[in-house]
């Protein structure tokens, strides 16, 4: 139990740092919401090496913490809708057992942006926001793919050493 608490703290700190580093790397596409999705590395590692509950907890806690630290109520809402939808899709695809880490992460990236865009439509109450959709889908897929490759390499190398 003590070991688990320490591990969870470590992963939460790691996810928080990834989110912070990501904010320092702007992607100048002229469109809001295009991000690397570095924190998804941590979520993927946890999903594959530890467990669903733990991965979900870290994902949500990370969003709440970085929202309170660097963002505002709105950024928490957007991040949560993206984070939870992407987590659900990744979990389903992983459970299907047919697809590997890279595909799971790519789908996660796409659905993260779909979730955020959906929340934006709800909040702004205007479908003009959907104008961004194509670019956000493609950027989500590309960053998801990269993150998936990275996460897979990490999981293959140290995944079996992470044990509670």
């Amino acid at each position: 139990m003590k070991r688990k608490t320490a591990y969870m703290g470590l992963f939460l700190a790691l996810a928080l740092i990834c989110g912070y580093v990501e904010m320092l790397i702007p992607i100048p596409l002229g469109i809001p919401g295009v991000k690397l999705g570095l924190t998804n590395i941590v979520v993927l590692i946890m999903l594959y090496s530890i467990g669903v509950k733990e991965a979900f907890a870290i994902s949500v806690l990370r969003i709440l913490l970085s929202g309170f630290l660097f963002g505002n109520a709105f950024s928490i809402l957007y991040s949560l809708s993206g984070g939870i939808l992407s987590f659900a899709v990744m979990l389903l695809l992983k459970k299907s057992g047919r697809l590997g880490c890279i595909s799971v992460s790519t789908a996660g990236g796409i659905f993260h942006n779909i979730g955020q865009l959906g929340m934006a439509v709800l909040i702004v109450g205007n479908t003009a926001v959907l104008y961004y959709c194509p670019v956000l889908l493609v950027s989500g897929a590309l960053t998801g793919l990269l993150i998936g490759v990275l996460a897979q390499e990490i999981i293959l190398r140290i995944g079996d050493r992470i044990r509670f």
Partner: protein
């Protein structure tokens, strides 16, 4: 997870890539013509409509926040915002129909339209 990329993954990723390429191609094909005006909506209500042909600085005072939209040389750009993230100010200048600038915290949407009332209704819905 012994093999890094299995046959299913290759299939899935190629299908996704094709789909996204089609979406992007459609976006480029159906890109709007140069627009005539911008419609500003604040929290679902139309705030105002301004012609792109006329240089202008629009102060969007919503009561709780102030943004500033600058219209210059037929393009519109958000030049001031009092929200914390300033994402709208980093969005590129818009000039073609359906191009949009959004300020999420202040619920401001700026969209380029062609000019007719019908297209305006379709976009504001």
């Amino acid at each position: 997870m012994h093999k890094r990329l299995q046959k299913n993954d290759v299939l899935f990723l190629s299908a996704t890539a094709l789909l996204l390429a089609a979406v992007l191609a459609a976006m480029l094909l159906f890109r709007g013509k140069s627009g005539k005006q911008v419609v500003i909506t604040v929290d679902r209500e139309v705030f105002g409509t301004y012609p792109l042909s006329q240089d202008n600085v629009v102060r969007i005072d919503t009561g709780t926040s102030v943004n500033e939209l600058t219209i210059e040389n037929g393009t519109a750009k958000m030049t001031e915002a009092d929200c914390p993230d300033k994402l709208c100010m980093h969005q590129k200048a818009i000039s073609r129909e359906r191009e949009t600038i959004v300020c999420l915290p202040n619920k401001i949407v700026v969209t380029v339209t062609g000019g007719g009332d019908s297209s305006l209704d379709a976009i504001v819905n």
